[in-house]
């Protein structure tokens, strides 16, 4: 494949409420795919380590948050092309998810979440008793 990667600026989130911390929050780029068993979400969150990830699923609202643990450095910037900050994005899922079996992993700054679909409510037969 000879496709070249293009530069895409990081999208900064415009927060509705005021944040307690004065640092930028970015919207991570994601891939969302689906197979028979599960939904798979992949998000780019460079600088976020394993323990900096927070995943929250309530009703059908999935929220991902990544915190960058930046160590303070005593260096003078010469040239700045990108800024660092946290990541935040939320989605409304159309499938019912089996919360107990959600798996998440982080590798090279990429978060991967596997959300298994809940077994569809089995059809029940209701017999009407004659009174």
């Amino acid at each position: 494949m000879d496709k070249n990667l293009e530069l895409r600026g990081k999208k900064e989130m415009e927060s509705k409420g005021e944040l307690t911390q004065r640092r930028p929050v970015f919207i991570p780029a994601v891939d969302i795919s689906e197979n028979k068993e599960s939904l798979i979400l992949v998000a780019d969150m460079p600088g976020v380590a394993n323990d900096g990830v927070e995943i929250h699923l309530e009703d059908s609202e999935l929220t991902i948050r990544g915190r960058v643990m930046g160590e303070e450095q005593n260096t003078t910037p010469v040239y700045t092309e990108y800024r660092s900050g946290d990541y935040y994005r939320s989605f409304t899922l159309s499938n019912v998810i089996d919360q107990q079996r959600i798996e998440a992993s982080m590798s090279d700054g990429v978060l991967k979440i596997i959300l298994p679909k809940a077994e569809a409510a089995k059809p029940r037969q209701i017999t009407v008793k004659a009174g």
Binding site: M1, D2, K3, N4, L5, E6, L7, R8, G9, R22, P24, A29, V30, D31, I32, S33, E34, N35, K36, I40, V42, D44, M45, P46, G47, V48, A49, Q73, N74, T75, T76, P77, V78, Y79, T80, E81, Y82, R83, M106, S107, D108, G109, V110
Partner: protein, 151 residues
């Protein structure tokens, strides 16, 4: 391949100096008020940040999903070439996509350094999708302290 110039040769010297002054003033204000730093755009992937201290130059780049094995870095005394490829995730069977925002592909970027460095001493590391290069400055460009003899 794009080569990034530190000082635009087409600009007059005075104007460049003025820009530099403006950048430095911005940086000073930013650090004081904790606000955003001025972000420039080279238009080439990946975006890099360059910083320095007395001994080293530091280049960082956000390269999510790219491990050290997918990177090829060449360091000379005044340029750094970063080449690599981001590979697509293997697709399983019966997969359909709802969203596809993450790109894959090759990249190659040359960065002209603001000072000369010792190429042999360069160190590159990747952590959580961030590449960090530490480039020791050449001896002649390091700041020197001059002792003043008291007569």
């Amino acid at each position: 391949m794009a080569i990034l110039r530190w000082r635009d040769p087409f600009e007059t010297r005075a104007f460049t100096e003025l820009n530099r002054l403006q950048d430095e003033m911005n940086m000073l204000f930013d650090r004081f008020f904790g606000e955003r730093a001025p972000v420039r755009n080279a238009g080439v992937f990946p975006a890099v940040n360059v910083a320095q201290d007395d001994d080293n130059l530091y280049i960082t780049a956000e390269l999510p999903g790219i491990s050290g094995n997918d990177l090829d870095i060449t360091v000379e005394e005044d340029t750094v070439l970063i080449k690599g490829e981001r590979k697509a995730e293997p697709e399983g069977e019966d997969v359909s996509y709802h969203r596809r925002e993450r790109d894959e592909g090759k990249f190659s970027r040359t960065i002209a350094l603001p000072t000369r460095i010792v190429a042999d001493g360069a160190v590159a590391e990747t952590k959580d999708g961030i590449l960090r290069l530490t480039l020791p400055k050449a001896e002649e460009v390091k700041p020197k302290k001059i002792e003043i003899k008291v007569g």
